[in-house]
Amino acid sequence: MSVLARLVRDGVRVGGSVEVTAEALRATGPRRELASSRVALVLRDPVDVVRAVCALDGQVPAMLILSGATGAEAVSTLMRQAGCEALLTDREDLLARPGARRLEEALTPGRQAGAVATAWLMTTSGTTGLPKIVPHDLASLARTVKRRPAPGGAVWGLLYDPSRFAGMQVVLQALIGGDRLVVADPRLPFGEQVATLAAAGVTHLSMTPTLWRRLLMAPGRDALPLRQVTLGGEVADQPLLSALAAAYPRARISHIYASTEAGVGFSVTDGLAGFPEGYLDRAPDGVRLRLIDGMLWLKAPGAARGGPNLDMDEDGFVRTGDRLEVAAGRARFLGRDSGLINVGGAKVHPERVEAVLTAVPGVVMAKVTGRRSPMAGALVAAEVQLAPGLDPALARRTILDACRAHLEREAVPAILRFVDGFETNAAGKLVRTAQVEA
């Protein structure tokens, strides 16, 4: 694998107009003072993310690619963990820090031939709690990129955050595969973003099931000339897959199972939820699967990639944390073993929400579970036991205010119920009946 800049075959468009040309992407590098730095990226503009990774790959030892929405504290902690000294950002609250600068102050036209093997440090899409750093390189991220343009020419729309694994896959497919990449302005209302992509003739689109449901509610949806519909980041359910097949009869519909931890996944294209049982013997794309006590283990092709947070067996299979059920020739996802709640692609740890709830004065005990939602996959539901004599209406307000102050929006309980008590087990722990996550 060469460096990204040498592989770029097309630029980036915002709506119908070219924002950055392929030549500009190929010919931009970091300023000299940055060249030996480990660099963190916290960029809200998706075009800037593309600009930055093209300029830095092959030039710096490591890029820590964070979502533009990452909280300020998490940015500090993750930069420390990754040993980053430089920060490129468009966030005013971060620019005051030592080592922080805007992208345009960090890049310069003309680049040295880059020979550095740059580490691409991606993060898991956890919203509550600190995201985990997952080390990649360009080769591992671009493994599934098709090197030939799709027949008839593909126009990829980007509605994902490119700092996320799935978003970066779209970016790399377009840049390296020679397809066109169209970015919608993330500041526009969703309906207008869809209209922008339709006007630009987007044929290929990859999003979470939650965003696909939202797209289906957009009046402009029929104007999208889609030939490829890709779903990832959450479990795709059958009603949604069927609705997409009806809305886009000319499109191939793929849902992707990917494990950020293992850095790989595979896609299913038969329009049915789950995947064929036969994949447990032979999965696509060289991936190998194992089902042990209802838990999916996955092995990436090639050398095993160890990591500090990975649970890997001696054969190189990584424990995914995803529970499976096999029935009638089909494997279906049941949810996470940890009780992790997937709210529209954002992963919420119930324990963290419980910790915030029980820190509120007057709360005796709290239990947080996932509640199935046909719209967002799952929502956070909380049961709370109050100290005697408290006014429930007032307590509700206090509790929700505390949650909003300390938790990301997806983690704030959407359903809050007051209960008289909880079942605890022999060890005095809460009985957390595993509920379906998606």
């Binding site: 509610m217 957009a218 967002a376 959407a414």
Partner: protein, 85 residues
Amino acid sequence: MPQLDATIRQVFGQIWQSEKTSPAPELAPETVLLDTGLDSLGFAIFVSALEEELGYDPFALSQDAYYPQTFAEFVAFYDRFRQAA
């Protein structure tokens, strides 16, 4: 149907108040739901709150996936599943 329409409006107002600081938008029959300003998560919470209030969720009951675009379509969808629920 008028009662159902009123209940849905009332719950929408409550969700809006808890999610936003601005006044809730006017809901006309032809109002496009995506244009109200509620995002995916807000909409999911709205549907979940309606289930608490009405005792059923047509999106979960429906055999076919249906994605109403206007407020009138949304109310009609709930009305269609009222008897079945």
